[in-house]
Structure formats: C-alpha cells, structure tokens
C-alpha cells in the first residue's frame, strides 16, 4: 500500500479533501465578513445565522414548494441578501456614527434572535437535505474515491470566491467599494451614494453566507445552530488572514481548512484547536494578520 509520511495515501487524501471542503466554507464565509468589515467597519456576528438561513430557506423551499436544489442555490441567497439589505437599511445603518461596539452587539443580538426563532419553530435537531440526483454517487479518481457532490462544492465555492474577488477588484462597482473603504466621505463628496453602497455590501455579504449555507445543506445537516460553531472558526480565519483583506480571507480560508484536515491525519487530538493555535501564533508575530496591512 502506498504511504505518505507513514500514513496510508487513501487516508491522507481523504482528509485533504475534507480539509478542502471545510476550507471552501471558511473561505466563502470569511470573504463575506471581510467585505462587510472593510466597508461598514462592522464585525458581522450574524454571519453564521445568515449561513443557517440560506440552508433553511433551501430546505423549506423544498419541503413546502418542491423547489429543487439548483433553484434554491439562486433563490436562497437572493432572499437572505434582501433580508440583510433590509436589516442594514432599517437598523444597522443607525449605528454607524456610534462606537463600533454597537454594530457588533447589534449583529450578535440579531444572530441570537434568528437562531432562537428557528430553534423554537423547528427544534434543535438537524434535518437531512438530499444531494441533488445529478450529483449523487462518486467518481473513482484512481488514487481515491471522490463523492461528486463534494467535488462540486470545492469547484463552485472556488468560482464564487473568484467571482467576488473579480467583482471587487475589476469592476466599476468594485472601485466604488474599494474607494469608499479607504475614504467614505470623499467618495460621497464625489456624488456616489455611499449609504446605498453600504446596503448593497451588507446584502452581498449576507447572500454569500446564504450561498455557503445552501452548499452545506447536503453535507452537514440543516439545523438552527449549524452556523454557531462554524462562525467562531471563521472569525479565527479572518483574524489570521487580516481584517478587511479580500484575497487574504480567501487564501487563508482554504489554507486553514487544509491545515485542519492534515492535522486530523497526523495528530487527530489537535485537529479541533489547530486553527486557534495558528491564530495565537499569527497574533503574536504579525498582529495585523498574514495579509493585513500594518496599521
């Protein structure tokens, strides 16, 4: 049997794949957090709840309206994005002139409210969401067996991350966003509707989280608390990557997912804490994060 560092190749690749999958979710979620933080200076504690909402909207669409996975992948981010935009416009936007702590407390309260409501309505237990038939089964790659759905998640999240990055770095709207992140007042003085830009950005961040939630539904179970544990890890990812760095969030997401997967192979006991250990080390050596600009 082929081995790598004394570990069977199969087990190694299997964990690498799991790491890549987790990394995909870390990347998608920390990307949204970084975009929101960059422009709004709000640490969006509701991000995990918005991820959960995405999965739930997909589940409810299927249960009540028979809407399939593919449509849900479009509709759920749209619904959650609009919900996010509404929250920003009616509530969050009132807090911008106050201490940043208020935004954090507000989104934290929002997360508790959303998750509490869903637990009250649907219970804490997870509900299964089936893999879409066209992605059922797996492919034998010769060196390992790859479940098709997991392959799809890796590819599509990479595409979504890249698409978001291109939107921010290469488009007109993205140039407004980057400029407003640097100097909100001047961008506004140029005649750009920054309040609208903020609403759009928060909506986009929420939609990205919901997109990740739909992708996650067939892999993990759909439950009101599915975002709670994940978001803590994602915050660590953002800290390691550097607050507000778009590319940093993406790269760090994948890197830490893989680091976590590989730790499972070599030293399983540490796999749950490895990301936080890395965070502590990075904070000691490079407080602004791997990709952050030194403030």
């Amino acid at each position: 049997m082929t081995t790598i560092f004394g570990i069977p190749l199969q087990a190694f690749l299997g964990q690498l794949l799991i790491g890549l999958i987790n990394g995909s979710f870390y990347a998608l979620l920390s990307l949204g957090l970084a975009v929101i933080f960059g422009l709004l200076r709000v640490i969006n504690f509701a991000h995990g709840a918005q991820y959960m909402l995405g999965a739930f909207v997909a589940l409810l669409l299927l249960q009540y309206l028979g809407v399939n996975y593919w449509l849900a992948l479009l509709i759920a981010p749209l619904v959650v994005g609009l919900f996010g935009a509404l929250i920003e416009r009616t509530m969050l936007s009132r807090l911008y002139d106050l201490d940043p702590l208020y935004g954090l407390l507000f989104t934290f309260g929002l997360a508790l409210t959303i998750e509490g409501t869903f637990r009250y309505l649907y219970g804490a237990a997870g509900q299964p969401y089936s893999v879409p038939p066209s992605l059922a089964g797996g492919t034998n790659l010769g060196f390992m067996f790859l479940p098709n759905y997991r392959g799809w998640v890796v590819v599509v999240s990479l595409v979504a991350c890249l698409g978001t990055w291109l939107l921010i770095e290469k488009t007109k709207l993205g140039s407004y966003l980057r400029a407003a992140t640097e100097n909100t007042v001047l961008v506004q003085a140029f005649g750009i509707n920054v309040p609208l830009l903020l609403t759009l950005t928060y909506g986009l961040g929420a939609a990205l989280a919901a997109f990740a939630g739909v992708l996650a539904a067939p892999i993990y179970q759909v439950s009101p608390l599915m975002g709670t544990n994940l978001i803590i890890v994602v915050f660590a990812v953002v800290v390691v990557g550097g607050m507000g760095s778009i590319l940093g969030a993406i790269v760090t997401g994948y890197m830490l997912g893989i680091a976590e997967g590989l730790t499972k192979v070599f030293y399983p006991e540490a796999s749950n804490i490895v990301i936080f250990v890395i965070m502590a080390i990075v904070l000691l050596l490079r407080p602004a994060g791997l990709f952050g600009k030194d403030a």
């Binding site: 007109k172 400029a179 640097e182 007042v185 001047l186 003085a189 140029f190 005649g191 750009i192």
Partner: protein, 233 residues
C-alpha cells in the same frame, strides 16, 4: 443676484468648537476667486462646509439659486460642485485610471478622457499603476483631472500647490487658466500668494472664521502692506 455661489452668515462647528463665525462671500459665474488667510483661520473648513462634508452648520449656502443646506453630501456634486481636497485624496487601492473614472459624470460639458490625457500626459503613461505610486505633483494633477470629467460648474480647490516644485506649480497655473477660459468657475484656497496673484480675479481675506476683506486683483498693489501684516509673510 446673479452669483453662482452665494454664502451668507455661515457658521460651522466641529463638535463644541465653533470655527466659522458668519462667513459672507459670493462667487460669480466664470470667476476665479482666491481665499487668503493664515493657517487655522478656517479656509479649509469653509470649503468643506460649502461641499456639505461638515454638517454642523448654519446660515445660507445657495448654488445656482438652490438652497444647499438640505442637500445630502452625495448629492452636492450632482448639483454641480466638484472638490479637490487639501490632502488630494488619491485612492491607493485604485489604479490611476480607476481614480480618474471614479467620480460620476453629473452634467454634460465635462472633458472627455482623451482630452484629459492630452492635458496630463503623465497620467496616461501611468494609468495602470496604483494611484498613490504617483509623485506629489502627479497626484495633484490626478486629483484635478478626475473632477474635470464630471461636468461640474464650480471647481473648489484647497491649496493645490502646497509642497510642490515650482515647475509643477506653474503647470497647475496653466491648467487653471485653461479651465477658466472654458468658462469654469473656480474657488481656490491658496497660501502661495505669488501664484494666486497671477491667476485670480478677486480675493477674499479670511481671519478668525470670517471674511475680513474682499477686493479685485487690480487693487492688489494698494493692499500689499495690509496683506503682509495680516498674513505675516
């Protein structure tokens, strides 16, 4: 009154600190006005208050007959006022061309991109570099150039020659004269007295948060002793 910009008894505050104490001034269509005054008398504050950046304000600001006090900041430019700030405000995360294309066009009559590149050939050469990689002079050119695209009627500049080499200062003077010839109205804050005396039609002298004198360029020679005393040059 035919003034394009009319400012009356304008007061402004930073929190508790009362900085403008009743500014009166008017800028006619096509005029080039320079505000003179020592450091800290409120020149920048006057410009920022007219733009609507400082919202703690009272008094009158009329532009083309329209009351500007109720206009939100992101609509000031659309009314036809463009702003080149003292710190230039070039964006590091945008390329030179992205910086140039950032402010939305608010009216017809702005310069085309080709025309701007003809006026500022350096910017064409460097258009894919990050905005803040430009030299100070080039950044000032960029800060002006990006407003020229937008078709605003009034250009507000805060100390455009500050810290720049004499050749660049001369170049900025040429650009401003060219703009004036096109009919642009220009309101300028300037410490460089020699520079201002060569391009302005009229001067305001500011002290302690209000205008204390107002005279055309023709009266400049008679006022020199007074100016030297007030400005301490």
């Amino acid at each position: 009154m035919g003034a394009l910009l009319q400012v009356g008894n304008l007061h402004a505050w930073y929190g508790e600190s009362h900085v403008l104490h009743g500014v009166d001034m008017s800028v006619g269509e096509g005029e080039m006005i320079t505000i003179l005054g020592r450091n800290g008398v409120g020149k920048t504050t006057t410009l920022r208050t007219i733009m609507g950046i400082i919202r703690q304000r009272r008094g009158e600001i009329r532009f083309a007959g329209r009351d500007m006090l109720s206009v939100p900041l992101h609509r000031t430019a659309h009314a036809g006022i463009g702003f080149v700030p003292e710190e230039r405000g070039i964006f590091a995360s945008l390329t030179v061309e992205e910086n140039l294309l950032l402010p939305p066009v608010v009216a017809d009559g702005g310069m085309a991109l080709d025309e701007i590149y003809e006026l500022f050939p350096n910017l064409l050469e460097r258009r894919t570099s990050p905005g803040t990689k430009l030299s100070g002079g080039e950044q000032q050119m960029l800060a002006m150039a990006r407003i020229l695209r937008t078709g605003v009627r009034l250009l507000i500049l805060d100390e455009p020659t500050e810290g720049l080499a004499p050749v660049i200062v001369q170049r900025i003077g040429e650009v401003l004269r060219k703009l004036k010839a096109r009919g642009m109205t220009i309101l300028l804050v300037e410490q460089n007295f020699r520079f201002a005396s060569k391009i302005a039609d009229r001067f305001y002298l500011m002290d302690h948060g209000r205008m204390v004198a107002d005279f055309p360029v023709s009266e400049l020679p008679d006022r020199m002793t007074m100016l030297h005393k007030v400005l301490g040059v």
